[in-house]
């Protein structure tokens, strides 16, 4: 018998271990896309039955009921009801419940059973339930619910074959059944769920004391906060320390590749395009892959272990003061790697105004793309000595100050926005604190690979394209002998026009020229200046940055350098961020607002920095 491939949706509460189960079932054979029209991620994959027939699986966002409170929860409802545009209603459901939290998770399961689709319950994380002192009776639960219940331990791949077999059976033997309607009121639903959970529980010994002890440290008003700060400190240290070696390898790899192209191709237009345009530009960005991956590794580990919800708890007080909620902490933390995934992570924030404000301030978090700019200018203008007699380096301190300015700026902006354009209800904050868990290497690896892929795709498309365009603009029209190619080129002339606007805040022609391509990606500012300074970019990036730094020292005043740094704290120019904001807010209004306010702030910050510095005689 051959028919269409059956499609099965995994659905369940948050923290039911749904994604781990999905990973265990599909392995790395996953495809992440967006549902058309909405920006919620659609995770799909394939598995096969024991006899080799394929089965299509989708992993739906976790939710508590069919009444959604946020965008991704709405997708779950629409898919299981068959109302999601462009998505076939699934042929069957795998309802994933946490074996240790049946009281709660069976509520949603009852609601889903009432839909009448072929359904199998995955009694997941049975091992953790046993660790918590629970002994359960899956058969009893199956009898009570009238559908198969399969115990699974996703991490150890236990119960997977049985689960798929039960799904197969459920689809083949399914007849429209007399559906027992789910109890109407929340109270009776919970009562029914509790009764079921009690019936399925053979014995229960109260344990989990250690979790409580851990939490009393982790959530301690002062100690917990200190621990959070220490973790953040270690995270940022590792991002810069541990990424150095792999970044060097990538860098020299690109250098070798450039050398190979130069040796292989004749000196033509095409060679210039490949070596100075594509390889130099894309290479300058790919070098940051290790940093981004390390940051994501930390974020994924914090999330998988259950710590992230604790961090949100600790940060909520502070964020509540400016009208945000602890929920916003996770997206903002991700924005230190890149604002794009950060902004995408805001989907979990239920309050619309709270979410919008978080999106608008996300670009103020110092993303990794700003690092090359900071590194270049700090290296060239800030002396490498220690502050007073302390072991704290002045350069590092300036870097830290730039990070801090972004954070403080973000909080102030949020405060103002929440009292003006994004005024609304006081943001609520309700979330479940998941149990502590040991992160699974496999799940982390899959998620990390997905991030890396998204980043590389971006580097290969948008960044490659802009560098090529910039290279063309800088190379044409050809300057007559005796005139500067950069000044004479199209890009040079545009920069001369822009220079009029940015001159008052101390910016020169170099900077004006760099600001335009930096719209594509901030780090392009560095390679743009390098090209403009007519430095041979075929060497490795570090050597280039060094000589570029020396060139800048001769051409810029300290006041200009400081103003340039201040500009980049607020720098709005990144097309990807603008594009993702447009997608996430469904229109041009908010991205334009964001760009506008960021430009104003950047201009003001650079101006004030410049004028102050000049007043102190640094001009």
């Amino acid at each position: 018998m051959t028919g269409p491939i059956p499609s099965v949706a995994l659905v369940g509460n948050p923290n039911a271990g749904k994604s781990s189960l999905f990973n265990a079932l599909t392995g790395a054979r996953q495809k992440i896309a967006n549902y058309p029209g909405v920006t919620v991620e659609r995770k799909a994959g394939h598995a096969s039955f024991a006899d080799g027939r394929p089965i299509a699986l989708i992993d739906l966002p976790g939710t508590y009921s069919l009444t959604p409170a946020s965008l991704d929860e709405a997708v779950t409802r629409d898919v299981v009801l068959g109302k999601q545009a462009g998505e076939k209603r699934p042929d069957a459901l795998i309802v994933v419940v946490d074996a240790a939290n049946l009281d709660n998770h069976l509520c949603f399961a009852l609601e889903l059973l009432a839909l009448g689709l072929p359904t199998v319950i995955a009694l997941n994380m049975l091992d953790l339930a046993e660790r918590d002192g629970l002994t359960l009776d899956p058969q009893r639960l199956a009898r009570e619910l009238g559908v198969p219940v399969v115990p699974t331990v996703a991490v150890r791949k236990r119960g997977l074959a049985e689960l798929l077999e039960a799904v197969d059976e459920a689809i083949r033997t399914h007849q429209p059944r007399d559906v027992v309607a789910a109890p109407r009121s929340d109270a009776s639903l919970h009562q029914r769920a509790r009764a079921l959970a009690r019936a399925a529980t053979l014995s229960e010994t109260p344990v989990r004391r250690w979790t409580q002890r851990v939490d009393s440290v982790v959530l301690h008003p002062i100690g917990g906060f200190a621990l959070l700060l220490a973790l953040m400190f270690v995270m940022f240290q590792s991002v810069y320390a541990a990424a150095e070696a792999p970044a060097d390898v990538l860098e020299s790899g690109i250098g070798v590749l450039q050398g190979w192209v130069i040796d292989t191709l004749p000196d033509t237009f095409l060679r210039g395009l490949i070596v100075e345009g594509v390889l130099a530009g894309v290479g300058a960005v790919i070098v940051f892959l290790p940093q981004i991956l390390i940051l994501f590794l930390f974020i994924l580990l914090l999330e998988a272990s259950g710590y992230m919800a604790r961090a949100a708890f600790l940060m909520d007080g502070l964020m509540g003061k400016v009208g945000l909620s602890g929920r916003g902490f996770i997206p903002l933390l991700s924005s230190f790697a890149c604002a794009v995934p950060g902004i995408m992570a805001t989907r979990a924030i239920p309050d619309e105004k709270d979410r919008l404000t978080t999106i608008l301030i996300a670009p103020l978090m110092t993303c990794s793309a700003r690092m090359p700019v900071y590194a270049l200018v700090i290296g060239a203008f800030i002396p490498a000595r220690n502050v007073g007699g302390t072991p704290i380096g002045l350069q590092g301190l300036v870097l830290f100050g730039l990070f801090l300015s972004g954070i403080v700026g973000a909080l102030l902006v949020a405060y103002v926005l929440r009292r003006s354009v994004t005024r609304g209800n006081a943001a609520g904050f309700m979330m479940e604190m998941p149990r502590y868990q040991w992160p699974r290497a496999r799940d982390i690896a899959i998620a990390l690979w997905q991030r890396a892929w998204i980043f590389l795709r971006r580097a290969g498309t948008i960044i490659a394209m802009t560098t090529v365009v910039l290279w063309l603009l800088l190379s044409f029209p050809k300057a007559p002998v005796g005139q500067s190619q950069v000044e004479y080129s199209v890009a040079g002339r545009i920069a001369s026009g822009l220079e009029v606007i940015v001159k008052p805040i101390g910016f020169n022609h170099d900077i004006a020229l760099a600001l335009i391509p930096a719209m594509a990606a901030r780090e392009v500012a560095v390679s743009a200046m390098a090209t403009a300074n007519a430095i041979d970019a075929s060497g490795d990036e570090e050597a280039m940055a060094e000589t570029l730094g020396e060139r800048l020292q001769g051409k810029w005043s300290l006041a200009t350098a400081l103003a340039f740094l201040a500009w980049f704290v607020f720098a709005p120019q990144c097309i990807s961020t603008i594009a993702i904001t447009r997608r996430e807010t469904n229109g041009w209004k908010w991205p334009l607002f964001m760009v506008g306010y960021l430009f104003l702030l950047a201009y003001a910050a650079a101006g004030i920095t410049y004028w102050t510095a000049v007043a102190f005689g640094l001009g």
């Binding site: 709660n104 109270a187 919970h190 002062i222 509540g320 979330m431």
Partner: protein, 83 residues
């Protein structure tokens, strides 16, 4: 003897006697019920606030730990559970 949850001492089990559903938004109310927090249930407030404020409040309900704000906790009336 009843008290409001936002003032309840930490670490002591209490029973919810009344929730002023009008004092919180419809969505918030529904999420509370989805967590299983409704009249008659037993909860233990555990952690309150951090360095910067008395918000939020972490509590256990059944086998779950949840976080709410003190504004919502102020709408929840509780009594000692031992009774």
């Amino acid at each position: 003897m009843t008290a409001l949850l936002d003032r309840a001492p930490l670490g002591v089990a209490v029973r919810v006697t009344r929730i002023d559903w009008n004092a919180i938004s419809v969505d918030e109310g529904r999420r509370l019920r989805e967590f299983g927090l409704m009249e008659g249930c037993e909860i233990v407030p555990l952690h309150r606030g951090s360095l910067f404020s008395r918000d939020p409040l972490a509590l256990t309900i059944g086998r779950m730990k949840i976080i709410i704000r003190s504004r919502q906790a102020a709408a929840i009336e509780v009594e000692p559970a031992a009774a």
